[in-house]
């Protein structure tokens, strides 16, 4: 099977979706002629024309608001916000409009849009090129939130998101665009061509939203992670020698609670890992669900490893980013508790 980078897989997903359904349109800032600042839409305008893939004014609320109108008409817009850090001007449109259109109109109007946003840190992006705002979406009734961690999933999940009849927030960990990253910033990055999950089938396939994947089977402790943290957790397990079961959630909402509960009931311990800030982060929801559903199976408090409750700094990148050392310590502490 051909191997692709995550960027190529995402581009391939849009190419496949646009080829199959002429209602799919792709736009955003620099998305058209130039092919996106991360090259995710390269070649799509040339292939499908300016009516299907085009540049937008620098106006996030306008991009999402117009997409909602297009969806109400009957198109399936897949739009891009250049960085998740810049989605805030569109937050009104996402939370008050896209999320609730089906509900408030009792299905009279629907909103099958996908909003792609590069997310996450580990790239010296500083305060406004590193944020992980997923908890601001999972808290919103009516949205679905997806975070892929590899090229194979990115393509299958994005096609599923585009075909989904409801609005989907598609967060792409930009640190993973060109290769997996386990937090060891001092080591050379391995490209996706050397990773089995870089294998991306040609043509159409989907990965259902709401289904997690076990990346590393284990019996001692369950690690709940998504995005870049999947690789950090795997590295921490290898380096501590702890037989951790690493679950890649893939979709945060709807959440694969069954997979989580089955694993924690087996291991009796759980560590939740995310890049986003700790307080009221998505980890709090995960810990709460594990406590509610696995209380009598738990042998230790559920731990969280997350970004500190500060804005994402620049110079202190690796003191902020939850790397394998911090995750490893949490694994040891949870096992010794």
């Amino acid at each position: 099977m051909p191997r692709k980078t995550m960027i190529e897989a995402i581009r391939d997903a849009m190419d496949v979706a646009m080829g199959r359904d002429e209602r799919v349109v792709v736009y955003g800032e620099d998305v058209g002629f130039f092919g996106g600042v991360f090259r995710a839409t390269q070649g799509l305008q040339a292939k499908y024309g300016r009516s299907r893939c085009f540049d937008a004014p620098i106006n996030e609320s306008g991009i999402v608001g117009s997409a909602i109108g297009m969806a109400a008409y009957g198109l399936k817009p897949c739009v891009e916000i250049q960085f998740a850090d810049y989605m805030y001007p569109a937050y009104d449109q996402l939370t008050q409009e896209a999320a609730r259109l089906r509900y408030r109109s009792n299905g009279d109007f629907t909103c099958p849009i996908v909003v792609r946003m590069p997310t996450g840190g580990g790239i010296f992006g500083g305060q406004t090129h590193s944020q992980s705002p997923e908890a601001l979406f999972t808290h919103v009734s009516g949205l679905k939130t997806v975070v892929p961690s590899n090229p194979h999933d990115a393509k299958g999940l994005l096609i599923a998101a585009i075909e989904d009849p409801d609005p989907v927030i598609f967060l792409e960990p930009k640190r993973l665009y060109n290769g997996p990253f386990d937090g060891h910033h001092d080591r050379p990055v391995t490209p996706w061509s050397k990773h089995e999950l870089g294998e991306v089938a040609d043509g159409h396939y989907t990965i259902p939203l709401g289904k997690a994947a076990i990346r590393r089977p284990g019996s001692a402790v369950t690690v709940l992670a998504y995005g870049t943290m999947v690789y950090v957790a795997q590295a921490a397990a290898e380096e501590t020698g702890i037989d951790a079961e690493v679950i890649d959630l893939r979709t945060l909402l709807p959440l694969d609670l069954d997979a989580i509960v089955a694993s924690v009931k087996k291991t009796g311990r759980c560590v939740v890992v995310h890049e986003a800030t700790l307080t009221s982060g998505f980890g709090a929801e995960l810990v709460s669900l594990v406590q509610e559903n696995c209380f009598y199976h738990l042998e230790a408090p559920v731990a969280r490893v997350a970004g500190w409750d500060t804005p994402y700094p620049h110079a202190q990148e690796w003191d902020y980013f939850p790397g394998p050392a911090r995750v490893g310590r949490a694994l040891i502490e949870t096992l010794e508790a």
């Binding site: 609320s61 117009s66 297009m70 198109l75 008050q96 409009e97 609730r100």
Partner: protein, 410 residues
């Protein structure tokens, strides 16, 4: 320039406050028929002054004059009059129903009936409005059942929105009426997106965006103008300037001495100002803008100059911030009376027939109200099920919502 010394902060104030004598002497009203009617493919740069004038058809004598007159037949105008009267009667009954505790909330259109009723007649089936909460005339003029509107207001068992929405936040795709949101201005850019989609799909349908004077200050107003202008979207960008945004006069949103129509000029969008209380003028301007959009000539911005004669909502008391008699002093008068006088002048209507029509309309509205109340009101009778609360959020209910629905015992 002389050194002015200390800076002083400027906060605009309306001419008069409660207790004062209403004064609209600053509102310049051009003579009916005095504004020319350009071709639809006019170069926007050539009609910039239209953003500062007011297109009017009906003069003080009730005659239709000038280049914007003569588009509607007697029958169409009589129907238009009935639509406005129906909306006004509907408003009065629903306002009363709110006072009687049959619903939690209501918003009237008093004085603005011509804007939405006349506009609707310029659209074709399949076109889509993105209205605010004060354009129910679009539904009335399109024949949407009044009982269904009342069912929504009462949140009863027959409410098409299953009790999920605040009263008057109607939705009807079939009648070209996009689902109303409480969040102001959001629909303005959505309308542009809908219009873009129609163009992308090589369709012939157009969109109409609606916003009030106050909400033009929202950033989505700007978003809509940028997108509409950039992509030449087939959309009519309507601004209903009723002078008031709850308690704030339009000067708080407007800034400077420009008009709301003039906002379009910086975007290269042709902008017209029209007498919002003149049924014929509203219709003629809407038709002009619709033809432009259908001919792929792009967006038009239209400012309807009118006056919010009623309270902002059933929760508002305007006597706290403006003179009680201000609506009587409004120089553009009352849209119903002006069309009535015109039809009498045309010889197809009379005071007697008008009185008779008022009685007939009241009767039909009361009959509709009885039927709706048979399905329940907010606090009595049939109501949507608790199950309806959980359903319809997603196309397929996700597991966590299924669990919550079970917890709720439904």
């Amino acid at each position: 320039m002389a050194d002015a010394g200390m800076l002083r902060f400027h906060v605009p104030e309306p001419e008069v406050r409660p207790g004062g004598t209403p004064d609209f002497s600053n509102v310049t009203i051009p003579k009916a028929g005095s504004v020319p009617r350009p071709e639809i493919d006019v170069d926007p740069r050539g009609i910039r002054d239209m953003a500062f004038s007011i297109i009017r058809v009906l003069n003080r004598a009730g005659e239709a004059v000038g280049p914007w007159a003569g588009l509607l037949t007697d029958e169409e105008l009589l129907e238009g009059l009935r639509h406005m009267m129906r909306l006004r009667t509907f408003d009065a009954r629903m306002q009363m129903a709110q006072r009687q505790g049959k619903t939690s909330f209501y918003m009237q259109h008093l004085g603005e009936e011509a804007v939405s009723c006349a506009f609707r007649k310029a659209l074709k089936p399949g076109d889509m409005n993105f209205p605010t909460y004060r354009q129910a005339g679009l539904l009335i003029a399109d024949g949407y059942p009044m009982v269904t509107m009342m069912n929504q207001i009462y949140s009863n068992e027959a409410d098409p929105l299953k009790g999920r929405q605040l009263p008057i936040m109607y939705s009807s795709k079939e009648h070209g009426f996009f689902s109303i949101s409480g969040n102001l201005a959001t629909q303005y850019i959505q309308a542009v997106g809908w219009a873009m989609a129609s163009a992308i799909s090589n369709d012939s349908k157009i969109a109409a965006a609606w916003i009030g004077d106050g909400s033009t200050a929202e950033s989505d107003f700007h978003s809509a103008l940028v997108f509409a202008s950039t992509y030449k979207a087939p959309v009519i960008l309507n601004v209903v300037n009723n002078q008031w945004a709850i308690s704030t006069f339009q000067g708080i949103a407007r800034g400077g001495s420009g008009t709301f129509a003039a906002r379009g000029l910086g975007f290269g969008i042709p902008a017209l100002r029209v007498d919002g209380n003149d049924y014929l003028a509203v219709h003629a301007v809407a038709k002009w803008a619709a033809e432009r959009a259908r001919a792929n000539l792009g967006p038009t911005l239209v400012e309807y100059v009118t006056y919010r004669a009623g309270a902002h909502s059933s929760s508002d008391d305007p006597s706290a911030y403006r003179p009680k008699a201000e609506s009587d002093a409004w120089p553009l008068g009352d849209p119903v009376i002006r069309l009535k006088n015109h039809l009498i002048h045309r010889g197809v209507w009379s005071e007697d027939r008008h009185t008779q029509a008022e009685a007939e309309i009241l009767e039909t509205v009361i009959a509709a109200q009885k039927e709706a109340e048979g399905h329940g009101t907010l606090h009595a009778g049939g109501k949507p099920s608790t199950r309806d609360m959980f359903e319809g959020l997603y196309a397929e209910m996700p597991p966590h919502l299924r669990r919550q629905r079970q917890q709720a015992g439904v």
